[in-house]
C-alpha cells in the first residue's frame, strides 16, 4: 500500500521523470481495492476456521464467551467507529485544502487507535493473568471446544491488532507527507487509501465483536 501511495507522490521510474509523469489515480485505486480484497480473504480463512469450530463446539463457545468482557468490547467498537469518522473528516479536510484541520483529524484517528490498543492490552493481560493464553497452562486444561474458542479469539483479535498497528504506522508516515506537501489537496490519494484501509480494519472488528463477545 505504501508503495502505491509513493507512486502517486513521486514519478514512478527515475528515468521517466524527465519526460512524463506516471499518474493514474483510478489505476492506483484499483490496486488499492485489490489489496483490500486480499486482506478480506486473509481474514476470511480465519472466519472459515471459526465457522467450522463454532458448528462443532456450539455449547463450549457459548460457555467460553462468558469470560470475555462485553463492556470493553463494546467500548472498543465505539472507539474504532469514531476513528473511522475522524479519518473521513481528515480526508475531507485535505480535499478542501485545509491542511492543519486534516492533520488534526488524522491525529485524532491515531489517538483513538492508541486508545483501542490500550483497552485491548487490558483485556489481553486480564486473560493472561488467568492463564488463558495460547500455550498457557489454564487454557490447555480447558475442554477442547473452549480452548479452541480462546485460541481463535487470540489469533483473530491478534491479527486484527497487528493491522491496527500497521495502520498507525501508515498514518504517521502520511502525516509527515502531508506536512511536507507531498500529499495535498491536488494529490490526496495516499490519505484516501489510508482511510480505505482503516475502514477495513474497522469492518473486520464489527464482525469480531458479535462473533466473540455477544455469542453467549
Amino acid at each position: 500500500m505504501r508503495a502505491e501511495g509513493a507512486t502517486l507522490g513521486t514519478p514512478a521510474g527515475g528515468h521517466a521523470a524527465a519526460h512524463h509523469e506516471h499518474r493514474d489515480d483510478i489505476g492506483s485505486k484499483t490496486g488499492m481495492w485489490l489489496f483490500l480484497f486480499t486482506e478480506l480473504l486473509l481474514f476470511g480463512g480465519l472466519f472459515i476456521v471459526y465457522a467450522v469450530y463454532r458448528h462443532k463446539f456450539g455449547a463450549e463457545f457459548h460457555e467460553a464467551a462468558h469470560e470475555l468482557n462485553k463492556v470493553m468490547g463494546v467500548t472498543n467498537t465505539f472507539v474504532l467507529l469514531t476513528s473511522s469518522l475522524t479519518m473521513v473528516l481528515s480526508v475531507g479536510a485535505l480535499q478542501r485544502a485545509r491542511v492543519a484541520e486534516s492533520l488534526r483529524w488524522l491525529g485524532a484517528t491515531f489517538g483513538l487507535a492508541c486508545c483501542f490498543l490500550v483497552i485491548k492490552y487490558f483485556e489481553w493481560s486480564a486473560k493472561h493473568h488467568h492463564g488463558i493464553w495460547p500455550g498457557g497452562e489454564h487454557l490447555h486444561s480447558l475442554p477442547p471446544g473452549e480452548g479452541m474458542f480462546f485460541n481463535l479469539y487470540f489469533m483473530m483479535t491478534g491479527l486484527h491488532g497487528i493491522h491496527v498497528l500497521v495502520g498507525m504506522g501508515v498514518m504517521g508516515a502520511i502525516a509527515a507527507r502531508i506536512r511536507s506537501g507531498h500529499v495535498s489537496a491536488s494529490r490526496y490519494a495516499a490519505l484516501e487509501f489510508t482511510g480505505l484501509y482503516w475502514h477495513l480494519v474497522d469492518l473486520v472488528w464489527i464482525f469480531l465483536l458479535p462473533l466473540f463477545y455477544l455469542t453467549n
Binding site: A3, A12, H20, S28, G45, L46, N151
Partner: protein, 548 residues
C-alpha cells in the same frame, strides 16, 4: 504519452544503463519491467537448477530396489525440497514473473506496469522468501521432511525445520499477490488506445485470469501457513485432533489455494501457446473469444474443485460427487482451447521453428496430463490410483509438460525480442527432440507404475517395479541432457547469436513493432490499435510488396 520522444532512452536498448547508476546497482534499483523480468529469470533458473539436481537424486535412488545412496529420511527431505523449490520458487512465479513482466506491457503498448516500484518490491520479497527457504536447510532441526504440502498433523510434529520453510512459502505468497495486483491494474488501465479487452493478445488474457487467481487464492494459504506456524509455536490446536482440531480442515484450507494455483501455473502457458500458434501458422487464431473466455472459465471453475485432492480422506459422498463433477467441468474449457489451437493450425501456412515445436510439445504432453487428470478426478478410479506414482506422473505431465514446456516455448519465442539475438535453431530443434524423448521415458513409466500399485514418496520398492523404475531413471538423464543443450544454446545466443531483427517470426502483436531489444521506454511512438491481435493482412501485404 504521445509527445515526441527523443534521446538515448528511446532509441537504445534497455540493456544499456542510463542515468547516474551503473552496472549491478542500476539493475538492483531498476523499476523497468523488462529488467525486473530478467532478474526474476536469473533467480528462478538458479533455483530450477538446484531442484532439477534434487530430482535427479530422487530418480537415482529409485533406479534399483533397496537403499543405495541416501537414507529414507534424507529421501523425504529430497522430495520435500524438490517440491517446495519447484512449486514456490520456480513454477508459480515462472511465466508471469519472467515473461509476463517482460512481455505484458509491450503487448499492451504501455511504457511499464501500473506500479513499477511495487514490481521491484515483489522481486525483493521473492528473494527474501527464497533466502528463508534456503535458511531452513541449514539452521535448526534439519531439512524439512513433510512434502511440499505440509500436511497436518505430521507438519505439527516433525522435528525438522518446518516453521521456517512454511514462513518462506508465506513470504513468497506476498510476492505472488503483488505481481497479480500489478497485472490486473495494468491490464485495466494501460492498454493502448483502441485496444479493447477483446483486442488484447491471448497471453494477456491468460495473465489476467492468472492474476485474479493469485489475488483471490493466495491470502487463504497465507493465513493457513501462519496458523501452522502458530500451532507449532504455541500449540493452538486448530489442526490437532488431540485438542479437538481437525487435520482435514488443514487440507481444505491448503487446497483452496493450492488447487487454483496449478491454474496460475498453466494459464499463462496456455496464453503463450495461443501466441505462438497464429504466428507460425501465418493466420489469425481460431475462436479468439472462446480461448479468451475459457481462460476465465478455467480460473472460476478451478477455484471450486479443491476437494478432489481429498477423495480418500473421509469427506461425505455428496461433497465427493460435487467435487468430482466440478473437476470434470474444468476439462470443457481446456478442451475448447486444445480444439481451437488445432483449428488454428488447420490450413495455416505452417513454418516449423523451435517455438512451434515447443508449443506442439506442450499440446501433446498437456493432453496426456489433462486426460490422466480425469482418471484422478473420477471417484472410483481415484481410489485405486490415489497416492501412487500415477499421480506423480499426471502432475509432472501437466506442470512440467504443461507449464514448464510452456515457459521453454515462451523463451524460444521471445528470446530474440529480449536480447535482440537469435539462437542456433538447429540446436534448439535437437534439444527439443531430446527433451521430448527423455520426458516421456521419465514420466510415462510413473503412470504405469502407479496403476501397478507403486506408492508415491516411497524410497524403496518391490522388485517387480524394477523395470519401469529403471526406464524412468534413464529417461531423467536423457531429459536433463536436452535441458542442458537448450540452456547452453540460449545462453550462448546472448553474446554470440546473430542479430535477430525486430520481427524474426512475423508476429502481429505489439511487442514485435518495437526494436529488439526494446528501448528503455518500449516504444518510440505510442502505438494505437485498429484491428484484432492476430491480423496478418498487413504483414502479408508487406511481404507481397517486397516479393514484387
Amino acid at each position: 504519452m504521445a509527445e515526441s520522444k527523443t534521446g538515448p532512452a528511446w532509441t537504445g536498448s534497455y540493456l544499456q544503463d542510463y542515468g547516474s547508476r551503473r552496472g549491478l546497482l542500476a539493475w538492483l534499483t531498476t523499476t523497468d519491467h523488462k529488467r525486473i523480468g530478467l532478474m526474476y529469470m536469473a533467480a528462478m533458473f538458479a533455483f530450477f537448477t538446484v531442484a532439477v539436481l534434487l530430482g535427479l537424486l530422487i530418480r537415482l535412488e529409485l533406479m534399483n530396489p533397496g537403499m543405495q545412496y541416501v537414507t529414507p529420511r534424507v529421501y523425504n527431505s529430497l522430495f520435500t525440497l524438490h517440491g517446495v523449490i519447484m512449486i514456490f520458487l520456480f513454477i508459480v512465479p515462472g511465466i508471469p514473473a519472467v515473461m509476463g513482466n517482460f512481455i505484458l506491457p509491450l503487448q499492451l503498448g504501455a511504457d511499464d506496469v501500473s506500479f513499477p516500484k511495487l514490481n521491484l518490491a515483489s522481486w525483493y520479497v521473492y528473494i527474501a522468501g527464497a533466502i528463508l527457504a534456503l535458511m531452513s536447510l541449514f539452521v535448526g532441526g534439519g531439512v524439512p521432511d513433510t512434502g511440499w504440502t505440509f500436511y497436518a498433523p505430521y507438519a505439527l510434529r516433525s522435528g525438522s525445520n518446518v516453521s521456517l520453510a512454511v514462513f518462506a512459502a508465506f513470504v513468497l505468497g506476498f510476492s505472488s499477490i503483488m505481481t497479480g495486483m500489478n497485472f490486473i491494474t495494468t491490464i485495466h488501465r494501460l492498454r493502448a488506445p483502441g485496444m479493447g479487452f477483446f483486442r488484447m493478445p491471448l497471453f494477456c488474457w491468460g495473465l489476467y485470469a492468472t492474476s485474479w487467481i493469485q489475488v483471490i487464492a493466495t491470502p487463504v494459504v497465507g493465513i493457513t501457513l501462519l496458523l501452522v506456524i502458530m500451532e507449532r509455536a504455541l500449540g493452538i490446536g486448530f489442526f490437532d485432533p488431540a485438542r479437538g482440531g481437525d487435520p482435514v480442515l488443514y487440507q481444505h484450507l491448503f487446497w483452496i489455494y493450492s488447487h487454483p494455483v496449478v491454474y496460475v501455473m498453466i494459464l499463462p502457458a496456455m496464453g503463450v501457446i495461443s501466441e505462438i500458434l497464429p504466428t507460425f501458422a501465418g493466420r489469425t487464431v481460431f475462436g479468439y473469444k472462446a480461448i479468451a473466455l475459457s481462460s476465465m472459465a478455467i480460473a472460476i471453475v478451478g477455484y471450486m474443485v479443491w476437494g478432489h485432492h481429498m477423495f480418500t480422506v473421509g469427506m461425505s459422498d455428496t461433497a465427493r460427487r460435487v467435487f468430482s463433477i466440478l473437476t470434470f467441468l474444468v476439462a470443457i474449457p481446456t478442451g475448447i482451447k486444445v480444439f481451437n489451437w488445432m483449428a488454428t493450425l488447420y490450413k495455416g501456412s505452417i513454418r516449423i521453428e523451435p517455438p512451434l515445436l515447443w508449443a506442439l510439445g506442450f499440446i501433446f504432453l498437456f493432453s496426456i496430463g489433462g486426460l490422466t487428470g480425469l482418471v484422478n478426478g473420477a471417484l472410483s478410479t481415484d481410489i485405486h490410483v490415489h497416492d501412487t506414482a500415477f499421480v506423480v506422473g499426471h502432475f509432472h505431465y501437466t506442470m512440467f509438460g504443461g507449464a514448464g514446456v510452456g515457459l521453454f516455448a515462451a523463451l524460444h519465442y521471445w528470446w530474440p525480442k529480449v536480447f535482440g539475438r537469435m539462437y542456433n535453431r538447429k540446436v534448439a530443434n535437437w534439444a527439443w527432440g531430446i527433451f521430448m524423448v527423455g520426458f516421456n521415458l521419465l514420466y510415462f513409466p510413473m503412470l504405469v507404475l502407479g496403476i501397478m500399485g507403486m506408492p508415491r514418496r516411497y524410497a524403496d520398492y518391490l522388485p517387480r517395479f524394477h523395470g519401469p523404475e529403471l526406464v524412468s531413471t534413464v529417461g531423467s538423464w536423457v531429459m536433463v541432457s536436452g535441458i542442458i543443450l537448450m540452456a547452453w544454446n540460449l545462453v550462448r545466443a546472448i553474446k554470440r547469436g546473430a542479430p535477430a531483427g525486430d520481427n524474426p517470426w512475423g508476429g502481429t502483436t505489439l511487442e514485435w513493432q518495437t526494436t529488439s531489444p526494446p528501448p528503455q521506454l518500449n516504444f518510440a511512438a505510442s502505438p494505437s490499435v485498429t484491428t484484432g491481435p492476430y491480423d496478418h493482412t498487413a504483414l502479408r501485404a508487406a511481404a507481397a510488396k517486397e516479393a514484387r
